[in-house]
Symmetry: C2
Subunit: 217 residues, 2 copies
Amino acid sequence: MTTPTAKPAGPSRVGRKRDHSRDPEILEAALDVLAEVGYEGMTVDMVATRAKAGKATLYRRWPSKAELVIDAIACMKQHPGPGQGQVFLPPDTGTLRGDLVAMVKPKAVSDSNRHLRIMLGVASMISAHPELLEAINDIMLRPRASAYQTVFQRAIERGEIEDGVDVELMSSLGPAMGMFRALYHQKAPSRESMLRLIDHVILPAVGLSAPVESAHE
Amino acid sequence: MTTPTAKPAGPSRVGRKRDHSRDPEILEAALDVLAEVGYEGMTVDMVATRAKAGKATLYRRWPSKAELVIDAIACMKQHPGPGQGQVFLPPDTGTLRGDLVAMVKPKAVSDSNRHLRIMLGVASMISAHPELLEAINDIMLRPRASAYQTVFQRAIERGEIEDGVDVELMSSLGPAMGMFRALYHQKAPSRESMLRLIDHVILPAVGLSAPVESAHE
DNA sequence: TTGTTCCGGAACTGATGAGTCTCGTATATG
DNA sequence: CATATACGAGACTCATCAGTTCCGGAACAA
């Protein structure tokens, strides 16, 4: 059973090395296609073509289309896309409303839009792949949830709102409305609709009133 | 060009008649499969088998899989399923909270659950088939919206809440949270979560407070 | 009765796409 | 240089599924 050529103990050390610097481009291409046509409409050829790679190259790195997609979603946090840093870290503006408004910067909104389209693309996969839901939660939900957590905690500490506010419930309102608009009305969650949600729903729910002059910003 | 046999002016009058009493069963089977595996995972064979019909019978009545699905969704309101009447008509309980709570009866919740699963099943089709979105809105959104409209209007008329409340925004909160829970947490929108939404979000947003004793019901 | 159309069932066709393999080339080890 | 692997590109296999056609039988019209 000692066949040194058939089953090398250590991984092969000979030959050209796999160029892992291409991984991010391939995964990014996969996310693009996913956002555009959804998981079922996406073909491995589309991804390979967009990444200017061979299909065999993809299959050398990921065992199946499903694994590729799961990895692409799982890697979103490490490669958040071109020019996007940490979008959700909340600046301390001194008021709850200021913090909430700062969280719906145009950049954050367009980022959410992409997340949303990717999410809808894999919606049908989720029940069959629980690890996918985990990854999605890690990337799309928990960062926002923790940002909201921080914002509300600050408001509690400065005495602006009372303790005992259901932070989890408040934090879901934004994402839920965004998804709802995206699916039912086929339009991106706009900054305007999010401001309306903040002033007419979230702030009253925590015992604050919207500014009387709700003109702009 | 007068070929009476090739192109009869009136529809054929000879032979066995199409048994349209089977249509509802077929459409119902299509909705079942749709809710279970989504549009892309659904095959015409599955629908035919479940309806105990031949695939040819289906194609004799609908020109394509897409048309079948669109028709199935469009016909939901006429055939709301076994034992389900008009679920959303709001009883007048005398208070806004009473009306809202009455709208999340277990029957209505389970009904919404099925609607939700069907909706997620066709999510990927919607951008390619605008008429599908129309039908979905007719069946799943507008009945609920008009029910909310009535409930809030009654509250305004009895002076319980002030005029000028953003009824549309308030009405989307329930469906949006239901969808969000269904997709992200993979669990049905429960009656309990809806009650939490009513007491902690909707009522405060319209200027009312939840009952101090929020024990049960 | 006879001709026509429907029925459920099943075989068939054609397209599509996941996954594999081959080719010529590039890049690594020894 | 010789060997071994990765690369992009594309041909290939094989399974699945939309849509069609055929079958034996039933329903309906003339």
